[in-house]
Symmetry: D4
Subunit: 248 residues, 8 copies
């Protein structure tokens, strides 16, 4: 598409419909829409069905609303992560169908629900307190066009609970595993599946969990070879990468 715009512009120049100066101006002044660099972002969105994602944290509700408007002008879907209740209200004022998930602090506009992923993404979490992080991962992957099989409360201290759900892992092309405390679940899941596992340490725990550090270190040292790790509580990142893998 963008290539087409560029081609169109050049043809206009060739056909003398667009003066060189004006073309030059277009090419220089619209850096991110017209020049190669900015296309990347756009192309990626088009190819991967990834709506523009707004990181709410550290932004003003007004800023979020403004960006959301701009995004929704050209994109069907929208995701705001780490959003406050006020941000949710502001987005709802723009797009009434916006959903707000307070536990995971996600706001979503999900108009285009076509499935783009080639297979299923399994998303697991160890305890009920990890559910918000799981939810952020699930919402991200869903909105990027994936079918997500979410399985919660399958912590390793009751290994049978996980094993009982094992059949739901079979078809997954990629697995997301969220866990706080000792963060052992990704290692066990890694041994049960043969697909890539994205481990998400959560800040669930107390004392020597050091806000997720224990889980993070555990996951980085996983004895399962198919495990990679994202930042503490980064459900979004896990959902994003899982979506990319599910498209390759």
């Amino acid at each position: 598409m963008n290539t087409r715009q560029l081609q169109h512009l050049l043809e206009g120049v060739r056909d003398r419909e667009i003066p060189v100066d004006q073309a030059l101006q277009s090419l220089r002044d619209l850096p991110f829409e017209d020049l190669g660099f900015a296309k990347v972002d756009h192309h990626r969105a088009v190819r991967h069905g990834m709506p523009e994602v707004i990181l709410g944290q550290g932004k003003e509700p007004g800023q979020v609303a403004e960006i959301a408007s701009a995004v929704l002008a050209k994109s069907s879907n929208l995701l705001v992560t780490r959003a406050s209740a006020e941000m949710a209200d502001r987005v709802k004022a723009i797009a009434p169908e916006a959903e707000h998930f307070p536990a995971s602090r996600v706001v979503r506009v999900w108009r285009d629900r076509s499935i783009i992923g080639k297979g299923k993404i399994a998303a697991l979490c160890a305890g009920t307190s990890d559910i918000p992080v799981l939810e952020e991962a699930r919402l991200t992957a869903e909105t990027m066009g994936n079918e997500v099989e979410a399985i919660s409360d399958v912590g390793v201290a009751g290994i049978h609970r996980l094993l009982d759900q094992r059949h739901r892992l079979r078809d997954a092309r990629v697995a997301i595993v969220c866990a706080g405390m000792e963060g052992a679940l990704p290692s066990v899941v890694g041994g049960l599946v043969s697909c890539p596992v994205i481990a998400v340490p959560t800040s669930v725990g107390y004392g020597a969990s050091f806000n997720g550090l224990a889980a993070l270190l555990g996951m980085l040292n996983s004895c399962a070879s198919n495990v990679t790790v994202v930042n503490i509580d980064n459900g979004f990142g896990a959902g994003y990468v899982a979506s990319l893998i599910n498209r390759v």
Copy 2:
């Protein structure tokens, strides 16, 4: 295959060729060959072309030689990671075609060189000191049947060197990025490609690099959404996961 063995056993029982007691014994005493659990490992090797990998660290050269013999009895390929020179000699005594890569401490027997991966894996590293980790990743991915495009010395302080190699990243279905010191390369590469990026922090650096901690933290906090991370100096893990992604 395993299902077939099981079916065969049951048919033997049905046809009274195999007494119940003996069948029972088979089902209970041959845990990893006959029961579902142990098949997983085997199946994974078959499906993914992953030869048995031996972690040399913490093993005696004799033990490594013994396991290597067992592996090579049923597998074409073999990989020993974190191998000492003595381990390399012992493996060469068994399989003279074994290659030894002293910098990355890898020993490899690579008889079956068929390509199984669906696309190309790009493997980059920031500085020349990171090359051993890159090499471990490359050897792993190669031996698992992938074409690997290796690019070294493209650290972020000379961003043009990376940008000059950008065309080599285009077709990659997954990228491995190794970096020590500040570990910034995965973030930049993450912005240039739209495929998953597996970041490998290396222990290259001194002082406040704290043996790779600085690079590890940097990668976990990457502002690029398509980055996941493995343990410090874990080139093997990165090569392994990249191979899995390249087969999905």
Copy 3:
């Protein structure tokens, strides 16, 4: 007893058999001689069959030999932990039947092999590199008069290997679980058994294992309620406490 002594003293004062000054002195200067503190250690050894244990680390071989002689003069058994080869030789010169376990750096004289423990102690480890720590725990528990069921190489990334050994855990009155890297095994074992689990983090691993810190934090944050933890690589402590529990 103490009350009686005190009463006796006061009566002596009342009856003018003991001058006030002398009574005063007694009350101030004999605080602990009468209370038998210094015998506690001795009593404990007698009750629990625990021979004097010598921590080799930081001692001269000659010192170790001297203490070993003294111990063996009044005790059948002897354990030296973190012992060098030279220490082993020195102990063998004194007690030719002494065994030396180089991997776990234990030297043992095991003359009295009577079983004192009420049940069985299960001792597991995750990988083959954890075996030396397991061995230190096993030797300690054995020498303290316990039957030990040792199970190795049952890491959580191949959960079936552990589950296949589950029947060997059933009768254990206490379990010792050693693991390096992510240290997840105690949580899984903790869910499979209903007895106390003593978790021993090991320094096995590299990079972000930070010499056992990752495993230690993981174990402290175990989601299994029946897990307590000892220091990194402290197989001795685990064997010791398991022995105490097995006698209660």
Copy 4:
């Protein structure tokens, strides 16, 4: 039992009562339902008299109330740890006899007060600020059917206070020792008793106590061999393991 089921199945195949296909299906699809994994928890509760424990932290008051109802339908006792005042109110609405301990944030329903433990559990703490953690341990152990001897304010800087209470430690089959700041009390107690000591670091302190890290490290490095450690402020875990030890 399980072996019997398996034998039964094979005999059915032999006797042609069960077709091979159906037997194959049974063997592959019912991996854990037949092996009783999921009942382990239930059995453990029955055997150990441990009421279901609800971890309040990270749950909604409504969720806690719902689980509490379910638990009390089949169990006499109930323990909610890290409970908010609102959770306490919700539980009281269901079970008016519920007690709320605001300092330790415990809610308890204690209908069945039978003693199951074989001996006495001693529970000590160093300073008055450690009392809430001690209380959580004591309530857990009590509700699990143990007699608990609680001793507070016996910090090591006034060693006589502890020595004066020494007679109360004599009969203990297991000791729980809570301490913040330098966390030295378990080492001293460990030397005075010959039973296992469970050390609980508390987050009491300031500055370089780093929220209990100093006490945790101190306890892990205890020079007393009979000390194991649980997470910072984990009174519940200490009470739980002490109860298990007191039943062996």
Copy 5:
């Protein structure tokens, strides 16, 4: 001057105008009044156009107001950093033209706007959340008499955004680069410019950013040789040093 005073004193002694005792006293009791130490600060302010800066943090609004009055009595400009809203109000009561920048918590009185710096200072930040730190740096440098070119939202994951702004970096005599998360921007900028780069890690991020530690370590390990680092969120320090460099 000082030498002259000393000579004068000695001549007085020689000429018997000053008794030995009195000279002795002078030499011993006036160590620093004569050597101008206390004037250094003043001189520096005069030479460098740096107004007195008040660190608001840890001060009472009344104290800030009092110091501000004293400063403004002899200086045209004033900067209060880490100022509360109440401090801003108190300063405005004294100097109505005072500006308050709530995001960066700076209060400024900027009467003397003469340019003293010899060239331009470039000030960049990676993300929009880093803008407050950038602002503190910019306000400091501006108030010290520098022209500042501020460029925001040029994070390394979209390297083209930075490259598009490259022309604005060309003339800079010194660059300030603020970044949170992985803190990679200074390395990339360091490679694009040939002037000194002052890196400011910010506390922007979550999880394993550990409040700016990840960015700090990254910057300290920068592979670009022209990078030095200041404390986390220390925009003021960066602006101050950049101003000094711009005057040399």
Copy 6:
């Protein structure tokens, strides 16, 4: 004195004025006043003029009031550290002359102002934000009967300010030095005086000060041989030890 009480009791027994049973009771039931152990505390108070100190942190205002009443019944002076405003009010209700120092959170009753120390204690702090910690140290030392020379705002970046005050350090028998941020002041003071220096790291700072850790490490590594260190913000401990030194 206590010895005298004991002697008095024994003489009463000798003279049959006090029955043995009653004496026994006194000796057993008043453990800390009558038996050797508790005398230590009492003796120390008497010898050192140290009033009972109550650590407010972690106590209820009512508890503080109760202890304060008990202390004031037998002691002229009282010190409550880390006290809340409510605690201050409760103590004032008991002892109207009580002073409250909100910045340092100290409450003091100072009836007996006799000087016991043999010399002067110098107490310095680096910045104005360190004054509360200095105040806690000063109040402690004063109340323990010392003359304190307090010097504030003599940070090392303006070394002349400290040198100008050097004459006030000359007579000090011991110096207390409080500093946050880089914590360098004790090293400089340590070089200027020949008496012991007690360094108090404060939590003043931000970013990489890590709540006083930077200052703490700095002081522990002081290149001045006469420096010892107490916990972060522990002004009380510094004042206490300085008082002890001033009495030796």
Copy 7:
């Protein structure tokens, strides 16, 4: 220039000299080849007189020799840092006038000794053990064409030693200050001079110096506003940046 090229291309299209397809290709495929990124490094060397620097660490002696040959073919000067003795020998074989500084592990070829810096660089260190780091800084700055005033053994615990050298600091346009242990020297120097100070923490110390961490944190928290920091033991970086500042 770039604009001109672009204009030229567009005019070619307009004039039908360049087909649209070819123009399109040019615009998409030549992003960086036309912009001269790869020459930046070269330009910098030319402008700043900075010889190519080789980081010896992690390289083979042969590699160092090869790079050294290449550098010396086009550059008068050469600096190898963190060089082994063997590297020194290899460089001397190529350039006999090469100097080797074993303490600082620097190898230097210094043919062009012209002074390029505008003023003097002061380089100080606290203790004699810090001298190797100071030397690395000094050699770097010298080789880059600066006059360096080196002052050693002026640690803060003997503040007079520093003050006595103060006159040598007066004319410095920039100061490098190396210190281990508590790392306090940069703060004191920062207060004495009005130029920028580059602080270099060294790994000199033991125990709680944690290999330079204490000094690093101290310097980052410096209360002097004119201090920036480089990595632990990074004398090269300090010398490099100081040289850049001295040329602005």
Copy 8:
């Protein structure tokens, strides 16, 4: 003395025996002998009997020999800490009576053995592995003219061992307490004595002792108010400060 020299100089000027220029020169060129600053060091040595101490670590044996010669030219005693065997040999070549203590790495020349301290210094350590640190402290204090009562192997897990030695603590004017592992001994000793306690954490231990960090944190958080702390393994510092306290 120095004052006398100064007076002498001034009288010479007054009496015209010394020209003003020459006097001026003397006052400016002999900074450390004539001006107040340098006197401090000298005076301290004289007053406290502290011989010059040479820190061996990081020095060449030749350098140590040279400094030792210089020191012994004007001082009876000499102490070299962290000395290698070669340094010991070099010092013995100069002063044959020099003693070498290999365990504590101290070399001492102890000609002047007069007692200067007013009382006794008690020096304790917890385990036999802590003895080298204790020895460094003892040798330092002895050489500075103190009577030292050394007590070893009184760790807190056998509290009676310490209590049995309590009478030896009674007369101490200051106590030094060395301990590794959990570092609890200073707290217990602090409660037994009423004098200042200097705590020395040692690096004795393994695993979570983190080379003495556990002991260091424990001591900083001591619940005994009379405890201050020095760096890990800093026996010298403890002996030095104890000596200063013993002279006040």
